[in-house]
Structures are given as structure tokens and as C-alpha cells.
Amino acid sequence: MAADNRYEEEEEVRTDDGSPITKPRPIVRLGIFLVAHSPVFSVVFSAAGVLALLLLPLLAKNTYISENALMPGSARSMLSNRDASDGSKLVKDIKNFRLNHEGQGVEVQRLIGKYMSEMVAEVYYQKFQPEGNQFHPLHFFSGPASYTLLGNVSCASYGVNVVGIIRAPRGDGKESIVLVTPYDFINGGDYEDLSLGIVSSLFSLLSRVTWLSKDIIWLVADSRYGDYRPVAAWLAEYHTPSFKVSDLLKCDELNTADNFRRAGTVAAALILKVDGRSERFEDILSIYADASNGQMPNLDLINVVNYLAVHRQGFHVKVEKVVSLLSSSWLKIVGEIFEAVGKVANTLNPDWKFGIPAAEYIEGSATLASSLYSQALGIPTGPHGAFRDYQVDAITLKISPGFPPDSKARQHDFFLRGSQLLEGTIRSVNNLLEKFHQSFFLYVLTSPSKFISVGVYMIAFALLVASLPMVAASLYVDGCKALTKSTHNSAENFKSWKWLDAAKQVFALHLLGFIVTLLPYFICQVPGQHSPRNRSIMWGTTSSLLLVTFVTIPGCSPFSSRLHGTNWAILKSVTISAAFIGLCLMSIINFATAEIGALLLVPTCLLAQPIKPALRSRRVKSLLGAFCSMVLVTIGFPVIFFAITKGLVGEGLVGLSLGGEFWTWLESLWAWKSATYLYIGMVHLPCWLLCVCILFHPS
């Protein structure tokens, strides 16, 4: 915008004086130059932005332990076979118990509790309500403190968590480390038992060791109602107890009243899950780290786990990937090109080592895409997300054992290795005097041992959006020129106010977007049961009605421009400015959303042009441009884009169920308080509507 103003000034001086100022200041000259050649530069910048995004897997750095105090793997593991056999015993007992007692009650919890108290841990049980997330627009950015118990408590369905605390013998009790094993007490599978086995082996060790300085909490979360809910309920009780009497306490014979115990500020949390068998012979460890709104735990935590798992315990570590990308041919071609370029560079100078093999590139891109996608979605990928709400660094470790669950021999070894991994991690965190602060919080992973920090991935985004202000400025200048030509009224020639009409329209549409964003809350309040499809239809119709109303209000509607003679160029200029501001704001809140949004919104905004003149002119170039903008606008509509992404991921959608699916998806977004929902409603949708307006502009 600054360049824009300067341009104006310069122009003014030139036109008024008639005599040229031949040497303006260099920065101004650069601005003028960029604005004057904005079409070329916008193409160059956008292409560079996409290229930079594709280059990211090449630019990924190897991870390293930034905090020296962590010292992973420097201590010899103290875990003995005795501890592992303690774990095996628990698993066996639970299995036997299951066989004998079909079913209900809290007997399994009691059994686990008994085991814990034998290991001199303090044990308690916590009941929680499997209450669903409710959308409330005002609670969007409020913290978890706004958690309130729902009034209607039913004893029909509630979960019971078992918690054991080992107090550090010489510790001061100021800090603690949490271990979570989600476990379905009613119908937990054989693999789920293994996670209990690992942690109980570890617990048996930790009850003896003298090096603990932080208390250890083991939470066996009742995962009957999902993995996330029990952990969130426990954390809420831990941090924001209500002190009020809860009806839930009276529900069962299990007395849980008033024995909730705490152990200071939580320093870190590890969630352990053992999932179905891996396809390979070796055990696979998957790390999940994304919490809500793309927040990540400190990179050091992932590094420690990865280091120990790879170099000490021999797990095959991986992070999530977009599988469909692995077989995509275009990515392969890109990867091969980069590999070839890297080779050429290497022959020129052996010190230039930026080329990586194509296969590695594809792996990296698939992981990067998955990281970006899950961050952009803003929905936590596991129970660790609940910890992030309390500023606790947490990750989920999902181990897929490479053996059938009844293999006793390998089970013992599995317990030994699994609990040694956890022991090493806990020991590292235990060493830490300060909370995690040394390493990165803003990063994306391209493999378990490679990351891209914020400084690098911002480049792609910055290049993408850099063209927006340039194009806005040049369009504004063009529009002003056109206006001055059309109206020779000197009073109307007051330049700085020319954008006001357009701004009014843009603002009106953003207001509409805001209202549309809030609509689902009211639709949810509509009494009666409605299917998601019906709800989405309701939403669609109300939104369209609103749009029609807005359009009919004179002065606000983009279609009323005929009366005022607003130039579409100025409207587009303001639209682009609004999109630029929206994207930049979003990049602060959630970078990945902004990046994906920019990929979609930047070309749409840049290419949007009235199709009428293009059709009239019948030139191939302009027809092509019109066609491109039509296609982009179609893709840019959130519902269509949602369908396309679903299709890419590999889930086909039938036309009619699309609305319902989309509604459910959005519902999950707001239920998790994802800022992506706000972005879609308040930045993307208005800008898209404005692009449609420009497309059908009657000029």
C-alpha cells in the first residue's frame, strides 16, 4: 500500500508540473518499477511461491537436540527383566479377568488400580461425562477455563479413568510428567493390553528409582468415548476443578469423591497407544504431534523420542503421510528434476549439496503435505491436543508391533524395548530444569528426523502473497485513470476517496461472511432432529437469501456499481487488498491454513476479470483467461474444494451426500475450535464472492 501511495504522489507531481522528476529515491523507483510491471512480477512471484513450496522437502534440515540438559540416551537403562515380567503379569491378569467376567462394571479399573498401588503409587479413580463438544461462537478463542459441567448428568453413560501417581523420592513436587494409555475397559483388544503392559513395566521400575525429580502420573484413560474426551476431562479436573458437588459421584459403588490428587505443574506428557499389527516384521512407531490450530509441541520432545527409538531401541519411526501422493507421477517427475539439478550442481561444485534422491523427495513431500494438511485443519491428531490447551508439550506414540498378540516370547522383548524408550524419554524430561523452550515450536516435519522451520517455510507464503499488494496498487492506478477519463468532473477527481465505494461493497460482503459464519450456531438451535444434509441445505438457503438481501441494498451491492460507475478494477484492487490482509492475519494464527488458502485464493483473485468483455472480444488470449478464472472460481468454492480434496485423498462422494459431508466436516472444525473455520467464513468466502462479482461485472 505504501508503494501505491508513493506512486500516486509521483504521478501527481509529474502531471501537475509537466516537468519530469528524473531521479526519485531508489526505493520509490523500485516500487514504481514493480507496480508498473505487476503482471509479469505477479506471475513470477506466484510461480516462485509454488516452486518454493515444492522445494521445501529439499530445504529440510536434520533435527538436533537443542536443549543440552536433555542428554537423551546418555544414561544406561535400569529396566530389568523383572519389570518387564511385571508388565506381562498385568496383561495376563487382565486377559484372564476378561475371560472370566464378561462385561460391565469397573472391575478392570479396580484391577489396574490394585496393580498401581502395589507399586507404591497413589491411586484414584475419576468419573467423567462423555459430553460432546458444543459450538459456541463466543467461546472460539477462549481457553479451556470456560469448561463447565453440564447440568444434566446421566448415570447411564460415564467413563472412569484410573490414575496412579509416583512421587519423586527427593523431589519437591513442583512438576510432573504424565503418561497416558487410552484403554477401552469394556472391549479393549489384545493390542490395547500391550500398551498397559509397557507402561506398567515402566511404572514398576520408576517406583524403585532414586533419580526422579518430577512426579510421574500414569493415566489410564477410559477410551470408550474416544481417546480425546477422557484425557480432556481429566485435565479439566486437574486444572479447573469446580469444587461444586457433581451428581456423577453418586452414580456408582466406586467412590471417587474427593480423592483427586495432583502433582504440580505438568512438564510434558506422553501418550502411548499400541495399535494393530504392522505390515512389516519390525515394530513401527508413529509419532503424532499436531494439536489444535496447528500448534506443535517443542521439537526437542519429538527429537528425544525419535533419537531414542531409532538409535537405542531399533524401532522404525515414521510420521503420517498422504499415501496417495506416494504414487503420484507428477511428484515423481518433480523429484527427478530436482535430483538432476542437484546432480548438475554437484558436478559444478561438490560443496553444493541440495539434491536429494527422488524417492526421498516423494516421501518428504507426502509427509510435508500431511503435516500441512493436519495443521491447516486445526484438529488435534490425538489426545495430546488436550494437553496443548494447557501449554503442556505432549505427543502421541503409536506403536504397531510386528508380531501377533499371542506371541509370548516377543511380547516380553516388546515390553522391554517399549518401556526403555519411555524410560529414556522420561529421564531426559526429568533432567530438564526449565520447561521446554529451547527448540522450535513453529515447524513442519518432512520425516521423523527432518524439519522445516518457520524461517524457511514462510518464504513460500511470502512469495505467494507478495504479488497481491503490487497488483492491487497497479489496478488502483489503472482504475483511477479510467475513472478520470470517464468523468471529467474535477470534484469527483478527488483521488484518495475513489476506493471508498468499492471498500463499502467489500466490507458489506465481509459482513455477510461473518453472519454466514455464525449461522450454524443458530441452525443448531433449531429444535428437532435434522440430518446433516438438511442442516446444510438450511444453511445454504439462509445464506443465499442473505446474499440476495445484501445485493438489493443499494450502495452495498457490487452489482449496483452501474449507478455509481464504479470501475471493476478498483473493486478488484480492494478485494485483493482485503484478501492480502486476511491471509497475512491468518498466517500468524495458523500458517498452514494461510498457505493452502493462499494457493487457492491468490490465483483466483489475480485472474478474476469480467468475462463479458472477454467474450465480446473473442480473442483466444482473453477467452483463455476468462476460462481459467471461471475454473478457478469454481474450484475456489469451499464445497467444491472440499469435494476435490476428498476425491484426491481417495474417498469418492456421491452428489447428494456432499452437503451432509461438508456440514459434518465444518461441524468438526468448529467443535475443535479450529481457526480454519473462521478463515473459511470470514476471509475465503467473501473474497470468493467478490471474485464472482468481478467475473460477472457488467462492464
Binding site: A36, K174, H239, Q391, E434, K435
Partner: protein, 642 residues
């Protein structure tokens, strides 16, 4: 010559003897040592060392002491200390398993780190100065950073919540102080026998610091003589409380582990400290079955008491004292020698279980909320299986609870948000709150303090107190080196003024300072956990970034401002015009022609279009850049290809 010296020494010794005899006629300085051992229900053993040093009131102020440490007496005289207690603690006292009602726990269960309180005998205006000087003196004396208590933000002046009603009382604690040998050594230096002889010889550093809890305490009080002209006497009480885990070889999990002094400390007692008036070892056994209480008078029964089916002592006790729920075996270590060291052992034969006497309510404290902005502190009181609760006032059974809490200034407490829940029901202040005294904190000047007295019904199951606070911002130089660890809120003191912990012995005690201390009535008190508040911490590498950014902004701002002020545009224009009139350089012309060719336009005059010129200029710029880049690449290529 040697003989002369020897005779001189003999003479000196004789003289000192004579002097001591002369003093002996009056009150003399007394020193006594004692060790109390107590098996705990959770398979651990508590060892409590107790040393008492008494200096009688005398005229010779601090100049001549025979046993009493001079450093302490000088301290007392210089700062006019009336009463003082300093404790160094590591680990947490487990109130549930180690007891909370007996005098031992209410006196020796101390908060983590350093705690210091002192009452002064000076005019009120000089109390703070005395306190500051005292902290510095103690800091030097005990090799600890007690001097950090000097700052007014770290100490408080409790009025009644602390137990001692005095306006000349100052209280401060340092939760983060690490306690180690360096603090124990100066403490031992105050003892007449140091750790060379007597009971203190047991203090083998590795075994003391291997324990689950250790707390070294120094308590001194002055005794007014009442006589004119005489100064005041000083009583110095030094205790070390250690909780140790005996090495267990037995696999059986139910039986208590057997131990001996040697296995606990790795040392034996080889004789008493000869300067001590009394040196005893006590063994306290709690929760023995009642039938054995009958007929202990006879010799056989007494024998049965220490050698029975449940357990066996390795030595015969000199005396056995009975209390309501416990036995006290007394051993005199006078008989022990190098050849026959005193090594008391306890062997359990049968699994036995007992419960400790618990405080009426168990207190725990925690932080609530999340984020860097605000939070709340909650104190939770829960009922315990305590026997002694009854306390009738106005026909209603109530428990009185005093809570004393210091808040550092960066925890900005809103006292109006105080909420009290009794049995999960919100109570108004007037219902349960008897008394409250609040002194709010001042930013960066003083810490806040809260004293309150609650009166809860006896049948209370749980009570919760919560109070909200805002987290303050510190100035960058106020952060400690480990700012990212968070900040500590010192322990709160929960005391029960109507509940008195004392051991009630049936027999005559004799002259034992430890036992008489136990017999004194003291109110039951317990400390809560230390809390860790994470505050917002700046990125300490940030100043560099900030400096860079600020400098850039300043440069841009002042640059353009100076340009606006200084530049004379008219003159510049004239100059440029005259420049434009001249012919261009050959290369420039060539370039402009070249570009014009590319653009497919005729050569324009340079003055006609600024746009063209700008493009010409920029192409020149691009050309330059390419030239430089090419040169750099070539240089790189040739320099590295060797």
C-alpha cells in the same frame, strides 16, 4: 625447653579446670545430645538428631563461652534476636504415612528449601534493618543464599497466623534453595564435638543425603534471667531429621525391613561426646497392640517388651516409657566404646501394620487455570482418620484452621475473589471465616500476605479455598538466570491452633531435653507444597533482534526525515536538467537502443518517459547484478576446484 612448654600447658589446663569449677557453682553451659529412631509405616525409618546447647545468663557477654558457639551468641547479641528458627529441607514430608499430629512432625516437617523466621528485641522501626543484617550474617555462616531474604519482596511480617503473636516477627522462605553438605558442615561446627564423636558421628554424608527427606533445623531462643545486671541466656536447639530407607534383602513385602544403626548410616556410635551432659538414643515404636501394656512393671514383662514375637531389639533398653499409643525405649550410650560400639538394631519377625496419628485435616495446594495471563490458587483440606477432633465451642464441634500464606508480588492476588467451599457447597465468608488479615503486595516493593482463620464443622469432609490472581510482568533484569523454569510460590502454613501435639508420658521423664520438648504442648502445623507458576518469559536472545529491528526503523525514519528537511528539490531539479542536457555515455546509449529494439518501439528521448527510464535503469541494475553474480560464481568455482 620441651619440659617447660609441657608444664605451661599443664598449668593452662589446670587453670581452665579451675575456672570451670568456679563457674560450676553457678549455672553452667550445658550440652546434650540425643537421637530418636522411629520406624515408619511405609517401611522407612526416621532418625531425628537433637542437640541442645544452653548458655546461662551471664555478665560476660559473648566473650567467654565454654561450649556454646561464639558465632551464635554474637549473632544474638548483635541483632538482639529474641527467637529465631532456620531450617534447610530437602524432600517432602509425607503427612499420610509419617504422621502429622505428633510433636516430631509438627516441629520438623518443614517446607522445601530454606525457611527463616526471627523475633527481634529492638524498637519496631529497627526490626527490618535487624532482619536484613541477620540474613546476611546467616548467609555467611551457613553457606546459603539466605541473603536473598533481605529484599522486602521476599519476606513478610505475620501478625497472628504464624502462631507467634508478635509485631517484631519476620518470616521468609526460599523454596528453590538446594540443600547439601555445604550447609551441614557449618551447622555441625556449632556442636562442641562436631561430628567427630558422640551421636553426631553417625552423620555419614552419603547416607544422610540418600534419604527421602532431610531437614536440618536451628532454633534459638533467649531466656530472660530476670535479674538486674545479668544478660539473657540462650538456648540453641539443633535438629536433623532424616527419613531413610533401610536396605531390604528380604523378599517378603509385608514384613517391615529390619535395620541397625550400622546398616542405616554405615557407622556405629563409639562413645558419647564427652562434653555432653546426657547422650541418649531413643527408639519410638508406634501402634503396638494394647494387651502388652499390662503389667510392664515386672522385669520379665519388660524383657518381653523388647524381645517378643513381633520384633526384637539387639540391645536391652535402659528404660521403657509408655505413651498413649507408643513405646519409647531409652538407651544410654555411655557404655559404648571402640571395642564395643553401640549398634542398635531392630529385627521384625512378623508382618505388622500400624497407622500414624494424622492431623485433623490434610492440606494440599495447587494451581488452577491455564495460560500466561491469570490463574487461581486453591487450598484443599480433606478429612483424615484422625482420632482427636473434638473441640466444642458454643455447643458446636468445630475445627479451627489457620492459614498463613505469602504471595510474591508477581502473583497479583485479588482478595475479593476468595471463595470457600465446604463439602462442595459454596459458603459465604461470614459462615466459616472467623478472622482474616490481608496485606496486599506492592509491585516490585513488597510481597503480599494472607492470614485467615477458618472454623469448620467437625464432620467436614472437605473444604476448598480458592483465590484468583493475575500474573505480573517482570522487567527484563528481574528475571533469574533460569527464568524458564517458572516462579515459586512459597509453601502455605496450615496450623490447627486448638489441636496440640504432645507426647504424654506416664512415667517421670528425667532430665532429657528432647523428651521435655515433646511433652510441651505445641499446635499441630503442616506446610503445603511449593507451587510453580510459569510466567511469561521473553526470548532472551530477543534483545539482539529488537536492537536490529529498532535500528532499522530508526534509520529509515531519521533518514527520510533528514531528507525532507535538508533536500532542496528545486536545486536538484535544475542540476538534473543540466545533466540531462549533456550527452549520455556510449554504453548507456547502446543499451537503451538495444532495449528499444527488444520492445519494438522507436528510441525515445530520455526525458519523454520516466517509465522507460526506470526500466532502463533497472535493466542496468539487473545487468550489474548478473555481472557480480557471474563473477562470484566464477570465483567460487575456481577457488574451490583446486
Amino acid at each position: 625447653m620441651a619440659r617447660l612448654v609441657r608444664s605451661w600447658i599443664l598449668l593452662l589446663i589446670l587453670q581452665s579446670f579451675l575456672v570451670s569449677i568456679a563457674f560450676g557453682s553457678k549455672e553452667v553451659e550445658e550440652f546434650s545430645e540425643a537421637l530418636l529412631l522411629k520406624p515408619l509405616p511405609d517401611r522407612k525409618v526416621l532418625a531425628h538428631f537433637h542437640f541442645e546447647n544452653r548458655a546461662p545468663p551471664s555478665n560476660s557477654h559473648g566473650r567467654h563461652h565454654h561450649l556454646f558457639p561464639k558465632a551464635i551468641s554474637q549473632l544474638v547479641q548483635k541483632f538482639r534476636v529474641k527467637e529465631m528458627e532456620l531450617s534447610f529441607t530437602q524432600g517432602r514430608w509425607n503427612h499420610e504415612h509419617w504422621g502429622g499430629f505428633d510433636p516430631l512432625s509438627s516441629m520438623n516437617a518443614k517446607p522445601v528449601g530454606v525457611e527463616l523466621w526471627a523475633v527481634f528485641d529492638v524498637p519496631l522501626s529497627q526490626v527490618d534493618t535487624s532482619w536484613k543484617n541477620l540474613t546476611h550474617a546467616l548467609s555467611g555462616l551457613f553457606c546459603a543464599s539466605i541473603n536473598f531474604l533481605e529484599s522486602s519482596t521476599s519476606y513478610a511480617a505475620p501478625t497472628w497466623g504464624f502462631g507467634t503473636n508478635s509485631d517484631k516477627l519476620r518470616y521468609g522462605s526460599l523454596p528453590r534453595e538446594a540443600v547439601c553438605t555445604e550447609n551441614l558442615t557449618p551447622w555441625l561446627k556449632l556442636l562442641p564435638c562436631r561430628d567427630k564423636d558422640g551421636i553426631s558421628a553417625l552423620m555419614n554424608r552419603p547416607s544422610v543425603y540418600r534419604g527421602f527427606y532431610h531437614s536440618q533445623r536451628l532454633h534459638l531462643s533467649t531466656v530472660e534471667s530476670g535479674q538486674e545486671g545479668l544478660g539473657s541466656g540462650i538456648v540453641l536447639e539443633q535438629t536433623l531429621t532424616v527419613v531413610l530407607q533401610p536396605d531390604t534383602t528380604s523378599v517378603e513385602r509385608n514384613t517391615q525391613p529390619s535395620w541397625s544403626l550400622n546398616s542405616l548410616f554405615g557407622r556405629k556410635v563409639v562413645g558419647r561426646c564427652v562434653l555432653a551432659k546426657s547422650s541418649n538414643v531413643y527408639l519410638q515404636l508406634e501402634g503396638l497392640s494394647g494387651h502388652e501394656l499390662k503389667n510392664v512393671d515386672s522385669e520379665i514383662e519388660a524383657h518381653k517388651l523388647w524381645k517378643n514375637a513381633d520384633f526384637e531389639l539387639s540391645l536391652k533398653p535402659d528404660r521403657v516409657l509408655r505413651e498413649i499409643s507408643s513405646f519409647l525405649f531409652i538407651f544410654d550410650i555411655e557404655k559404648s566404646s571402640d571395642s564395643e560400639p553401640f549398634d542398635l538394631g531392630l529385627t521384625w519377625k512378623r508382618p505388622s501394620k500400624w497407622l500414624c496419628q494424622l492431623a485433623p485435616l490434610h492440606a494440599s495446594r495447587f494451581l488452577m487455570g491455564s495460560g500466561n495471563e491469570r490463574g487461581a490458587i486453591a487450598i484443599l483440606l480433606k478429612e483424615t482418620e484422625s482420632q482427636e477432633k473434638l473441640n466444642l465451642t458454643n455447643g458446636r464441634c468445630t475445627i479451627k484452621v489457620n492459614i498463613f500464606q505469602i504471595f510474591p508480588w508477581y502473583v497479583k492476588v485479588y482478595y475479593h475473589t476468595l471463595q470457600i467451599f465446604v463439602d462442595q457447597q459454596k459458603k459465604t465468608d461470614s459462615e466459616v471465616l472467623k478472622k482474616i488479615n490481608v496485606s496486599p503486595s506492592t509491585d516490585k516493593v513488597s510481597s503480599g500476605m494472607m492470614e485467615m482463620m477458618l472454623e469448620l464443622p467437625c464432620e467436614v469432609k472437605s473444604a476448598a479455598i480458592s483465590i484468583e490472581y493475575d500474573k505480573g510482568f517482570l522487567h527484563i533484569d528481574e528475571y533469574p538466570p533460569d527464568a524458564n523454569q517458572g516462579f515459586d510460590i512459597p509453601s502455605a502454613l496450615i496450623s490447627f491452633p486448638d489441636h496440640h501435639a504432645s507426647l504424654d508420658f506416664k512415667e517421670e521423664l528425667g532430665n532429657s531435653p528432647l523428651l521435655s520438648k515433646f511433652k510441651e504442648k505445641s499446635s499441630v502445623r503442616s506446610y503445603t507444597e511449593v507451587l510453580l507458576v510459569p510466567l511469561t518469559t521473553p526470548d532472551f536472545s530477543m534483545p539482539y533482534n529488537v536492537i536490529t529491528i529498532t535500528c532499522t526503523i530508526f534509520a529509515l525514519y531519521f533518514g527520510s526525515l533528514l531528507n525532507v528537511i535538508r533536500r532542496r528539490i528545486g536545486e536538484e531539479e535544475r542540476f538534473l536538467k543540466s545533466q540531462a542536457g549533456k550527452k549520455k555515455g556510449g554504453l548507456k546509449q547502446l543499451l537503451s537502443r538495444f532495449i528499444a529494439k527488444i520492445r519494438g518501439r522507436p528510441i525515445e528521448e530520455s526525458s519523454s518517459s520516466s517509465e522507460l527510464q526506470s526500466s532502463v535503469l533497472s535493466s542496468k541494475l539487473i545487468f550489474k547484478i548478473i555481472l557480480v553474480a557471474g563473477a562470484a560464481a566464477a570465483w567460487q568455482y575456481f577457488s574451490t576446484d583446486k
